[in-house]
Symmetry: C2
Subunit: 183 residues, 2 copies
DNA sequence: TACCAACCGGACGGGGTCGTCCGGTTGATT
DNA sequence: AATCAACCGGACGACCCCGTCCGGTTGGTA
């Protein structure tokens, strides 16, 4: 929460943008994708006007927040040493950290920008899956869509649970799902 | 949606109650546990006042709606011929039919009445699980809590999906989870 | 210094919900 | 017919959110 005096004037734009993204990250994390935009502006110490000037709609704000997440996933996947399990673990960690990221993974929403995010995640899973088919013990019938389904199941479980219990719940959930993947 | 004239007067109470439960069932099904109470009263063709007179709070209305669901589950479980799979199938069917029932199954909520509902479901799963340990092929380490976890995973998946896709999604989800149960 | 483009905060209108409160209707009872 | 307990619908005040609009501030520039 920034003070209200320092963010006026000509070159406050960049700082305001950063503050908005930070506040949005927190609100999205706890409240989900439908978090109140007013609350985000409030927490950022910024007027409603500035919020809408920087981010014309809720989706563009969400993309600014969660692009970091997907970028981190892509960076991990690009490391040849990283395994499919590593990737699933990071996704799980990210979902545990933010209800809105869970919401984005489901994206039954119509906005194509949100579907693109899911597409990127799916592609990463697909890539690692192909690599793992050779290296590890992967059940041959498993598809990338199956993996995405599993991710969504775990995510949906975490969505409606107390943050403190998420890590343990995720472990139990993956313990049940892993046999279906590794055979 | 009832007409507005027939539900005045001294003995309209019972009819209003029925209309409210019906409207609530529909609204809860599509909007989830947080459905608008105003909308429910509106759809029932009943004033706000009557809604709150019959059901002082949202939970009591939800209980009136979903007691039927749990009763049906208990009836099925009481049939000796019914299997654990039958029970899981009916639960899945009920969750697919109502977002609010999904919400109730998670009940990270503090209200003890909601937790009781989950408790009843858990007990049913526990009973059938014990029976199935003798009859069918059940992995011995599986507990009732594991089953509840699986149910919640599938439910959480269905919660954020288009109703039309739910049946197929549920099938795929259970296909992945079944190995963890039957071993 | 005087100007002004760029940017800002927050008020505002429109819309929704919640829960309460009350005047009005109904029909059983006397 | 007169009464009145039981019950009803919906208005109402308090609250919140969304998205726009505008007067006000800032600081670079001439």
């Amino acid at each position: 929460m920034r003070t209200r005096r320092e963010n006026r004037g000509r070159n406050a734009a960049a700082a305001n943008r950063v503050a908005l993204i930070g506040a949005a990250r927190e609100q999205f994390a706890s409240e989900g994708f439908d978090a109140s935009l007013s609350a985000i502006a409030r927490q950022a110490g910024v007027g409603q006007g500035s919020l809408y000037r920087h981010f014309p709609d809720r989706v563009s704000l969400a993309l600014a927040v969660f692009d970091d997440n997907v970028t981190a996933l892509e960076a991990l996947a690009a490391t040849p040493a990283s395994t499919l399990d590593d990737l699933l673990a990071l996704i799980t960690e990210q979902t545990a950290a933010s209800v809105a990221f869970i919401d984005m993974l489901h994206a039954s929403d119509e906005d194509p920008r949100l579907r693109d995010v899911v597409g990127r995640v799916r592609d990463l899973l697909d890539g690692k899956l192909r690599a793992a088919r050779h290296d590890g013990r992967i059940r041959p019938t498993v598809t990338a869509d199956d993996l995405l389904l599993a991710v969504r199941m775990v995510a949906g479980l975490l969505a409606k649970s107390v943050p403190g219990e998420r890590a343990e719940l995720a472990d139990r959930a993956w313990a049940m799902l892993r046999p279906a993947i590794t055979g």
